[in-house]
Structures are given as C-alpha cells and as structure tokens.
C-alpha cells in the first residue's frame, strides 16, 4: 500500500493539472437580442424568452481536444454539474469535482470561487468558457498568477483572453500543457457597461490583464520563423522609450501593459490601468484623473503622452484611457503623442486601422490619418488611424 501511495504521488507530480470553469448562462441573452446576460433580472427575462444555453456546448467542443491525454497524465478539476462537471463528462473525460453550487442558480461569485480554489490547487492553466463578464470574474480571482484561456461562449467578447473558437482553445491548451507552447502574453480583459450597451451606447473599459498562452507559430521551416516571443518584443520597445526620454518634459504615461513595460524599465512605480506622470525620471503622481492631469499641464511647459493600442480591435483613445480626455490631448498637442506597441500586436492588426473615439468628433478627425507606432528599438511602423 505504501508503495502504491508513492506511485500515486509521483503520478500526481508528473501529471498536468487543469481547471475548467463553465459559465452555464453566458451567451444566453445573445440569441434573444438582450445584448448580454449579466444580472439576475436579465437572465430571468432571457429564460422567459426561451433562450437556450450556448456556452456549455462550446465548452464541450474545447474539452474534447484533450482526448489523447491518458487519465493519469491529466487531472481535470471542475466545479459540480453545469459549471464544468457535466461538460467534461459529456466530452468523455473524468473530472475531479471540487466545491459546491446551487444547481440552476449559479452566480459570478461561483466563478470567482472556482478560480480561487483551482489556483490553490496549483493548476497549470484555467480554461474558462463564457464572455467578458466571466473573464472579469476569473481576473478578480487569479489576476496574473496562473495562465488562463477563454472559450468564447458569451454575447460580448471584447477581451483578448479568448481563443478564436472553441476548437482552437482546446488545441492551444493541449499544446501549452504538452510544453509545445511555452510563451505567455499579457492580454486585455475588457468589459462594457451592459446597462449602457442595452441602451445602444458602447462604453468599454480596460479591466485588467491576464496571462494567456502565446501561440507564436512554430518554426516548422527554419527560414520562416514567425512571430516574436512576447517578452523580448516588449523589452525592445520599453528600452527604446526608456533610454530616449527627454529632459524637462512631463510624460503622461497611459494605461496598458506595454507602457507598464517602459515604467518597469525605468524602475518607477506605475498603475497598470491608470495614468501616471513622470518628469526627469521621477514619478510625480500615480493613477491621476483628467482634472489632475490638467493641473500638472498648467505647471509644465512641454508634455508628451505615451499610449499603447488597447484590445483586439486596436483602440488608441476612448477605450480604457478616458482620463486622456479631448482637453488633455489638445493641451499636450497632437504632435506630442507617442504610440508604442509590440510587433505581435501590430501584425495581428494587419490591414485594420487604429481607432480613436475620444468623444470629440472634431478631435477624432484631426487624429485620423497616419501615425507612427514604435514597435522595437529604433523600429516603427506607419499605421492608418480612423475615427
């Protein structure tokens, strides 16, 4: 018996561990035209309108991709019933069920609890099926402490933490667990104000970042390696900006992980989702609002805004950086905007323009045209901007 115990323990150490979370009601509002499923009243209305859950089926498609793993090689943790257990069994695999839920009445708090418990079990990756709301819940629970990947199942997918479809999600997770994909990238969790969205107004904001496997396509043909390791690509941009900061200039550092890379390179405290102010390599203030920025602009003769491209759709202004208001942008001057991004980000936007939505139509027009985006050490690309 003792020997068997050792063997089991060894298997446990060697095996890969994955947590699977399914938001059973994600996407339920989409088909019945409700633009989202957040909030119990909406959910009830959706069910009343005859909505059928879409997300569980999508989760099953993703989970089926793990069929080649032997059971001793992969331990799958799920929450009970419709939050993962049912989907894993439906895919023909055997889950290890943790936690408890009230079946038929699951809530965002269940998603958060599941993610937290999986993190405590040291899983290699959490695969979750849902929409932007689900991604937010997972983010609140695990932040950047473990790799995650989303199976797109919700009505709203603005976040960059999702695979393009359920099958790809399953395959990418397989490759990550097998060590074929090792690189991870910080990707945006975006969400919109659902009340406003139902009124027809789109207001998205950057909610945070999570780590997802970076499928830098592999080097099958040595001469045609594609993609760049995210960490190295970010480092080159950050070095270039950090080493070339001008003296006696107020730097307004926008939100986002690329700008954070610059701040880290300068060894300065920073706010991932907020705006920080820097002058002569010193932080003047962290996480400032529009009014505070304008106050500082009164005191300093020259300012430069450093911003990055936010989200998979390529927004420069108007998503996640509303502190940089039209007034702020005009005071700084359109010639004093520096846009930075990693090469991977810009290649992923190939043939799409960058977008601006400052809330000021005139300014949007002025910003339209072409801009230079710094993508490496002394390397930049010209990109079209559209309002």
């Amino acid at each position: 018996m003792a020997q068997q115990g050792i063997i089991e323990e060894r298997c446990d150490i060697l095996a890969k561990k994955i947590g699977i979370i399914v938001n059973p009601v994600a996407g339920i509002g989409g088909r019945v035209g409700l633009k989202g499923s957040d909030g119990e009243a909406i959910l009830a209305k959706a069910l009343e309108l005859g909505a059928k859950p879409e997300c569980p089926n999508k989760a099953v498609v993703a989970i089926k991709q793990f069929k080649d793993f032997k059971s001793e090689e992969l331990i799958i943790y799920t929450f009970p019933k419709e939050m993962g257990e049912d989907e894993v069994r439906c895919a023909g695999l055997e889950p290890t069920v943790i936690g408890d839920i009230v079946s038929g009445h699951t809530t965002p708090a269940d998603t958060e609890r599941a993610a937290r418990e999986m993190l405590a079990l040291n899983v290699d990756l959490i695969l979750f099926a849902g929409g932007d709301g689900t991604a937010r819940n997972v983010l609140d629970a695990v932040g950047e402490e473990v790799a995650v990947l989303g199976v797109p199942g919700g009505c709203k997918i603005h976040s960059a933490v999702y695979a393009i479809n359920p099958k790809t999600a399953g395959k990418l997770v397989m490759e990550f667990l097998l060590g074929k994909v090792r690189d991870v990238k910080e990707s945006e969790v975006m969400d919109i104000d659902e009340d406003a969205f139902r009124e027809g107004v789109l207001r998205a904001r950057l909610y945070g970042y999570m780590k997802v496997p970076n499928e830098k396509k592999m080097v099958q043909n040595l001469k045609s390696g594609r993609g760049y390791a995210e960490e190295g690509a970010l480092d080159l941009v950050a070095r270039y900006i950090a080493f070339n900061l001008e003296k006696d200039v107020l730097y307004i550092m926008g939100p986002g992980s690329t700008v954070r890379g610059v701040m880290n390179k300068l060894d300065l405290s920073n706010t991932l989702l907020g705006v920080d102010l820097v002058y002569n390599n010193q932080v003047l203030a962290n996480d400032v609002n529009e009014k505070e920025i304008l106050g500082y602009l009164d005191k300093y003769a020259k300012a430069i805004i450093i911003i990055t491209v936010i989200g998979g759709q390529g927004y420069l202004f108007g998503r996640g950086n509303q502190q940089l208001s039209p007034t702020v942008i005009r005071r700084v001057g359109l010639d004093n905007l520096k846009i930075i991004a990693t090469k991977n980000k810009m290649f992923s936007l190939f043939a799409q323009p960058l977008l601006v939505d400052t809330g000021d139509e005139e300014l949007n027009e002025e910003l339209s045209g072409y801009a230079r985006v710094i993508v490496g050490y002394g390397e930049s690309v010209m990109f079209r901007i559209q309002s």
Binding site: K180, V219, N221, S224, A351
Partner: protein, 527 residues
C-alpha cells in the same frame, strides 16, 4: 506535348542514416598518407619541430574514422533523401527564383584553370578571372542603368548592408550626419529593414494600402515626421507578394525632395529583365542577387553573390577593390580614399560570376527579355489554375492588378474550414514528389501563406502538375483533414514531434563535441 499528372506512387528513400561520426571505427582510414621518404627527411629535417608551440595541437583531431566506400555511401544516402531545383518541380521557392542551372556553367566552373586560382594571387596571374568580372560589370550596368558595380557582397543581405554603408558615407561626406533613419515597406525583402538596422539606422516600415501597394499617404507622413533625419528609402519592386509599385516615381521624387537617397532591392529581377531599369525608376542604388536571376545554382546556403550598383556620384564610396582596365591589363584598385571599406574579403564569388556571365552571354539581350516575359506569363497561368482550388486565395485578391513573377497565396479559407494549415499542405505535397514551398518572409502578415515563383524554367506541364497536386491535397484536407495533418508518409522528411524543440538551446549545440558533452550517447542511433 507531355501531359501533367500527380505522382501518386512517389516514394522517397529513407535510409535512417546515422551521423557520419557514428559510423566511425577507430583505426579505419579512407586514405593512407605515405611516410615521408628518407631522402626528403634528410633534406628538410623535422618540419613539425619548426612550428611554434602555440600553433601545435595538444589533442588529436576528432574526425570520423571511415573508409572511402562508406563515406561515399553515406553521402549518396543523404542526397537520396533530398529534393532540389535540378531534381524536382521547384517552382515552390517563391522569391528564390529556382532556375535550371545549365551544365555548361558547371563545366566552366570546374575547369582547373579557373578553379585553382586563389584571390590572393597577383593580378598578373589571373587576368582571365579579372576580365570576366570586368565584362560582367559592363553587362550589369546595361541591365540596370547604374554607372558602377561591386561584386564583393556575398549575397543579398551583404548588398543591402553595403547600400546602407554607401548611404552613410554619402551623407557624411556632406557633413549631414544627423540622417539616422531609413524608410522601407512591409513587403520589401526583410533585409531592407534588417540590414540598415544592423548598420545602425532607425527603421520605419510602411504598410500597404487596400490594393496591396505601399501606402503613399503613409510615406508622406513618415517623410514629414522624419524631416532632415531621413537618410533614404529601401524598397523592393515588385514586392514579395508579386505586386509592382506603380507609384515608384512618386516615392523617389518625394524622398529626393528632402535630401534622402533611394535604394532599389532587385534581388529577384526576373519580372523585368530588359523591360524596366533602376535608372529610369530614378533610384540611386540597386542590387541583384546574381545567384537567383542569372541562373546559377543556389540553396543550401550558397554560393551566392549580391551585385551592388550605384550612380556616378556614389561610386567613390564603393567597397574596395574595384576591378579596372587600363587598356592593357585588368587590375584591382585598392587606392580609393573615400571607399567605406569592405563588406567581405576579396572581390566576389568568382564561381557565381563566371556562371552568370556564361548564362547571360548565352541568352543575349533578347533572351533576357524573353525570360521576363515567360516568367510573368507562367505566373499568371498558374494563378488562373490555382485560384480555382477551393480554400485557396491570394494576397489582395481581386485588386485588379496583374501579378508579376511570383504570388503570395493564402490557405486561410481552407484553414478555417478544415483546420489544415499551410504547414500541413507543405508537408503533404512531399508525398507527391514536390519539394517544400516557400511560405513567407517575416513578418507573416498574410495568413497561412504560400509563395510560388514559376520562372521561365518551368514548362506548362510542370505548372499543371503543381496545380493538380495542390488541388488533390486541398481536396484531401476537406475529406480527411487528420490524414493531411499527419503528413508526410512517403518522403524522407518527417513531421517534427515538437517544433519548439528547434528553439531549445539546452538541446542543440553547434559542434559534434559540444553535442556529446551535453547529451552523451542519448541521441545516437548507434550506441
């Protein structure tokens, strides 16, 4: 006329061949070097004793000890596991211009009167070689309209690096030293960004407009932003995707208007030999990959040559030596005070220049133009065939622009519908006797790319064989995607179990000794 077919019964050799080091048996010799005769020893004494200690080996050479028969068999096995331009239907290698290499060129290059010449010899002892370089330079001047050429660059990258050095020397000669930025385009050969960057320039890359042409509005903004920091522009035309930039004159005019120089990458010149010239396009410098356009063998990393040409006002900055003729003899001129220096030793890859000279003389001016015409015709015929294949498209399809000598296709639709991507198709065509095709240069912005270049070498039958094979493989992808993903089955090449391993510095080493130190006999076939 021969009829095209798919080689469904193709099967390549797989020898499961070990490394030659693994074939080593201690004491075995391929050649027994005779003992030095007593008479010679008596005359010269102990030659080894005259060598300084620091150049003497402390440990014996670790060479494989294999007899002649097994060395020969080993390398024949390896060649049977290879495909190549003179062996198979290699219109696959888009951007590489894989032409037939006439046997005459090989015969000339192997002639002992040529092959035994060393570039360190005195000029007077290699007048023939210098004459060939000199005469080939006159041909290149005519083809491009440039005023001088250097054949010193050992390939395209060298030639582009050379351009960056000439550009810097030119601006420096005018005390205009703040010009630190060059502009290039995303579908220019990637060396147009990489080489100037290596030479210390900042690089701005232009994306194409909706038609696939480098964006002129983007250029205007880049030029305006760069101002007097602009050193020049580096651009390939036609670009990597096979589209000719019809605005080239506007590009040149704009860059010249702010004091920049214009460089034309003509690595692959097959679309326009005898049709258009760099001079008329208005550029100041250009280069040709001699090994591509001028019919010399390449691949397997060489041999190559990058012929770099420029206008008169830049010739003083060319690398040294240049090859000159004084009316009586040919000679190398090292006395060039304003030359930027060298990009490589000596004065050029003689074997490539000799073959290219022979190839060009065989064709004559009319023949060169015919090469371009047939290449463009071949490419457009193949395009018509291939675009009828379900799941296959091309970059900027339907933009109304006739393609030049090559095309970047995309398997994006097939990939979305079946999960089979370009890597999978690429392995599967091996099972029908076609070599791997060239997917794309960096960056991979056209999804699931495939770049083909059916130059004048290929017959109608070759083009149709390629089409029939791709059509069959695409159909296989719809019928049985897993089978295609698992390919190849009948070729010597394998599917990599884990492609990321190729990036693993823990696994690989650059010498056999270092590899053994890392792994012992873990990976040896013969233990």
């Amino acid at each position: 006329m021969s009829k095209a077919y798919v080689r469904t019964n193709f099967h390549e050799a797989r020898w499961d061949e070990p490394m030659i080091y693994e074939l080593s048996t201690p004491g075995t010799r391929g050649i027994l070097v005779p003992e030095v005769e007593d008479e010679i020893v008596a005359a010269v004494g102990d030659v080894a004793a005259s060598l300084p200690d620091q150049v003497k080996r402390k440990a014996p050479l670790l060479l494989p000890e294999v007899d002649q028969k097994h060395v020969l068999a080993h390398y024949i096995h390896l060649t049977q596991e290879a495909m190549g331009s003179n062996l198979s239907n290699d219109l696959s290698e888009g951007t590489c211009t894989m032409k037939y290499n006439p046997r005459l060129g090989e015969t000339l290059a192997m002639d002992d009167n040529f092959a035994s010449v060393h570039p360190a010899q005195d000029d007077s002892t290699m007048q023939g070689v210098l004459e060939i370089f000199y005469k080939f330079e006159q041909i290149m001047k005519e083809i491009s309209g440039m005023d001088r050429f250097s054949f010193q660059p050992g390939g395209g990258n060298h030639a582009v690096y050379c351009a960056a050095c000439v550009m810097r020397a030119y601006h420096a000669s005018r005390n205009d030293v703040k010009r630190d930025t060059i502009i290039t385009t995303i579908f220019s050969h990637p060396t147009d960004a990489a080489s100037p960057h290596t030479a210390g320039y900042n690089v701005i890359t232009l994306y194409p407009d909706e038609k696939g042409i480098p964006d002129y509005e983007g250029l205007k903004k880049a030029v305006a932003e760069t101002g007097d920091h602009l050193a020049g522009i580096f651009m390939t035309n036609p670009e990597d995707i096979g589209i000719y930039n019809p605005n080239i004159d506007k590009f040149v005019e704009l860059v010249h208007s702010v004091g920049g120089l214009c460089y034309y990458d003509q690595a692959n010149a097959n679309a326009f030999l005898g049709v258009v010239r760099a001079r008329e396009a208005g550029v100041d410098m250009c280069h040709f990959n001699v090994h591509k356009t001028f019919g010399t063998p390449h691949g397997g990393e060489g041999p190559a040559n990058g012929a770099f040409g420029c206008r008169e006002f830049l010739t003083k900055f060319l690398p040294k030596p240049t090859i000159e003729f004084d009316g009586d003899k040919f000679y190398r001129d090292y006395d060039r005070a304003e030359s930027f220096g060298k990009v490589r030793e000596y004065f050029g890859t003689a074997g490539v220049i000799l073959r290219a000279y022979s190839w060009t003389m065989m064709h004559g001016a009319e023949g060169l133009r015919e090469c371009a015409n047939i290449s463009v015709l071949n490419n457009n015929y193949l395009e018509k065939l291939l675009l009828s294949i379900k799941g296959l498209g091309e970059a900027f399809q339907g933009n109304g622009i006739t393609r030049q000598e090559q095309i970047r296709y995309t398997w994006e639709e097939l990939n979305k519908e079946t999960g089979v991507g370009t890597d999978d198709i690429n392995r599967r065509i091996n099972d029908y006797g076609l070599p791997y095709y060239w997917e794309s240069h960096h960056p991979w912005v056209i999804p699931e790319p495939m770049t083909l270049e059916p130059c004048e070498t290929y017959s109608k039958c070759d083009l149709e064989e390629y089409y029939l094979t791709l059509k069959k493989v695409a159909q296989e992808a719809y019928d049985d995607p897993e089978m295609v993903i698992g390919a190849p089955y009948k070729s010597a090449a394998h599917k990599l179990a884990n492609a990321m391993d190729l990036d693993d510095p823990e696994k690989w080493a650059i010498t056999w000794r270092a590899f053994l130190r890392k792994h012992g006999d873990k990976y040896l076939k013969v233990k």
